[in-house]
């Protein structure tokens, strides 16, 4: 049985090792894409400058690309992630904002699982009938909504209608307690400050809900298909014949096996969630990596952009890894060796 914890550790180790060449590839690609596509960054940053500043900029950025890359990569290996044109260091800015995005994404994932999966089960059980069509319209609507339209509508119309705040992570910034983890709800919990926990949650709910709504389609659709595959199988009939109520047959026996295939889309879902944070964080003024990405891309902040892309890529790879581990945990037939 290749399923011991040792096998799992080796599996995870191998995958993390494979991350390195991918990361390198990403850094190279992003570097060249950003530098190549902006013909003259100095003209963009200093459209009206002359003399000293412009000469400095040319000295750095009018060199051959390979030289620039060599210097950038050298700095990277020494832990220097670079800085924006205004001198704001990249690494601290990203490090402070990653947890907030993680919190947002986890909240959205939670909503997707809690709402999307049961919807998929309902749709599978009522396949071809009105409930199925309703579910389909629901998740396809989420899919079809452009992120910013949904975010803008939610922030401007839904927020006041539901009495929820429409921006930021807390009502006052910074909050009146130390932010250890930079995750709003967690920090409030750590401070034991219940009213602020409620405040943090009320700020988190709407952006997470919009993010979840837009990406719910994949999860619901996949759950529906896997359930449809699982429901005619004999062990579902065995479970029924034991005398279990339909609810337990569906949610304990059938779903458990259907989820195995659903975890395979976790990677794609993560990609979509991360991509969505760029716009959602901007509009909901959420202090996360997405907002930082938005600024870096539009500035343009080369170092910042590369770093952000790398961080997102790491996120996607880690999500894929977690999905594979989950798959192995759920399906006893899978071996990790």
């Amino acid at each position: 049985m290749g399923r011991s914890p040792g096998d799992l550790a080796i599996f995870v180790g191998k995958r993390l090792l494979q991350l390195l060449p991918v990361l390198f590839g990403i850094i190279v690609l992003t570097f060249f894409f950003t530098h190549v596509s902006v013909i003259d960054p100095c003209a963009v940053w200093y459209p009206h400058a002359k003399g000293g500043t412009l000469a400095n900029c040319h000295a750095t950025f009018h060199r051959p690309l390979l030289d620039q890359f060599a210097q950038y990569f050298g700095n990277l290996l020494h832990g220097d992630w670079g800085a924006s044109q205004t001198g704001v260091a990249v690494f601290p800015a990203i490090a402070a904002s990653v947890p907030a995005t993680v919190e947002l994404v986890l909240a959205a994932l939670f909503l997707m699982v809690v709402i999307g999966i049961p919807l998929g089960v309902v749709a599978a059980q009522a396949a071809g009938r009105w409930k199925d069509h309703l579910v389909r319209i629901f998740y396809l609507s989420g899919w079809a909504t452009p992120t910013y339209l949904g975010a803008v509508l939610a922030a401007i119309f839904l927020a006041p209608a539901l009495g929820l705040p429409s921006g930021g992570a807390f009502s006052t910034k910074p909050p009146p307690f130390p932010e250890y983890t930079h995750m709003s709800v967690v920090d409030a919990l750590l401070a034991g400050n219940l009213p602020w926990v409620a405040d943090a949650i009320s700020h988190l709910i709407l952006p997470a809900a919009v993010l979840a709504f837009i990406n719910m389609g994949i999860v619901t659709r996949m759950t529906r298909s896997s359930m449809l595959e699982v429901l005619p199988l004999d062990y579902v009939k065995t479970a029924r014949m034991k005398g279990l109520s339909e609810f337990w047959v569906l949610y304990k026996h059938a779903l458990r096996n259907a989820l195995i295939t659903t975890t395979t889309v976790l990677g794609v879902t993560a990609g979509g969630l991360l991509a969505g944070t760029v716009v959602i964080e901007k509009i909901f003024i959420w202090p996360g990596v997405g907002a930082y990405a938005f600024e870096s891309i539009t500035a343009p902040n080369f170092d910042g952009t590369i770093a952000v892309v790398a961080v997102f890529a790491i996120g996607v790879v880690v999500a894929n890894l977690i999905a594979d581990i989950l798959y192995g945990v759920l399906d006893p037939r899978v071996e990790w060796r």
Partner: protein, 350 residues
């Protein structure tokens, strides 16, 4: 096809047994009837199909004879400023007195065209690479080495958050439709590689194909005649859904990077939305809602169609559909395992 008669006593006309019914030429004509039955089976997909057809027709007319569908030119002054929806201006007018309805309608050919070009080029490039990486992937051969290279590169691109990269490229490349199209296409093709490769792997080892190879049929011919035809179903489904995804992604780029100048002679929904910025939503909501709704409806239409097609065309969903209806187990006893092509909803919209 679909929920066919379950009794094994009935003579089946399937040309081959196995997990996939390989197509023959005679069935091409029958395919139309099948298509109609697919649409009728799920009313939502019929709605999607009709919407898509309607949009394509309006788009074509709009490109060729704009005056037929749009009462005003995109940058034509109507003399009416910031008016809400009315009979004369169904979507109202903006601060420049441009008729929003005309802009929205005349954006259809551009947006549909962009979607088709991006998805199509990704399909051709990614699909071609996937075909090579799938069919010619044999151990210790040139094909195998090429396949490995293709796969590694694809993996790197797949790990990319494509929207971010597309945004980065789009912002940097500056204004212009083609720059934006290039930006998205560069990040779009990897998904097709995985999809097509998965499908090819699933059928590569079927006895039918192996027999053809043993009989000496050239690889190219096999690929063209047999492999391609059977890969087509799930790829078609994915492509239909993808057009919608491309549209949403492209409009997000339009929001961030403004590649297409608006107002201008060629309106585009994303550019419109970014121009009528969020600040206007409370004051003149129709300005931003009209193009937004247009995107929504278009993507919804393609998604309904694609989702409905997937129920019947994607082999995994189809097996589940048949099995849930058939009273006796189908006569095909052995089911070869699928190489599990990515049964995902496709790349998510930004």
């Amino acid at each position: 096809m679909g929920a066919s008669s379950p009794a094994p006593t009935q003579a089946t006309s399937a040309p081959a047994r196995g997990t996939r019914r390989l197509r023959s030429t005679e069935e091409g004509i029958g395919a139309l009837g099948t298509f109609w039955r697919i649409l009728r089976a799920n009313p939502l997909s019929l709605v999607g199909f009709l919407l898509v057809a309607f949009l394509i027709v309006v788009g074509v007319i709009g490109a060729v004879a704009p005056r037929v569908v749009a009462p005003y030119a995109p940058t034509q002054s109507t003399g009416v400023f910031n008016q809400g929806p009315s009979w004369a201006h169904p979507f109202g007018t903006d601060g420049n007195s441009f008729d929003i309805y005309s802009n929205v309608v005349l954006a259809i050919p551009l947006d549909l065209g962009i979607g088709l070009v991006i998805a199509g080029s990704a399909l051709l490039l990614g699909g071609g690479l996937g075909l090579i990486a799938g069919y010619w992937d044999r151990p210790r051969s040139v094909g195998g080495a090429v396949a490995t290279v293709i796969l590694r590169v694809t993996d790197v691109f797949l790990s990319f958050p494509s929207l971010i990269l597309a945004l980065a490229i789009g912002v940097s490349l500056g204004r212009g439709v083609w720059q934006a199209i290039l930006a998205v296409s560069v990040t779009w093709w990897p998904y097709y590689v995985r999809l097509v490769r998965g499908e090819v792997l699933a059928i590569k080892h079927l006895p039918y194909i192996t027999a053809a190879r043993a009989a000496g049929v050239k690889d190219g011919r096999i690929v063209l005649r047999h492999v391609l035809r059977n890969v087509l179903d799930p790829v078609l489904v994915y492509f239909t859904l993808d057009i919608g995804t491309v549209l949403v992604t492209f409009s997000t780029i339009g929001f961030v990077a403004h590649p297409i100048p608006y107002p201008g002679p060629s309106p585009e929904w994303g550019s419109m939305m970014s121009y009528y910025s969020a600040a206007l939503v409370t004051v003149h909501p129709w300005t931003i809602l009209a193009p937004g709704a247009a995107i929504f409806v278009t993507v919804l239409a393609f998604s309904l169609l694609g989702d409905g097609l997937r129920d019947v065309l994607d082999p995994r969903s189809r097996r589940a559909l048949v099995r849930s209806v058939a009273p006796t187990p189908p006569p095909e006893s052995t089911q070869a395992p699928d190489a599990a092509p990515l049964e995902s909803g496709g790349s998510t919209p930004g």
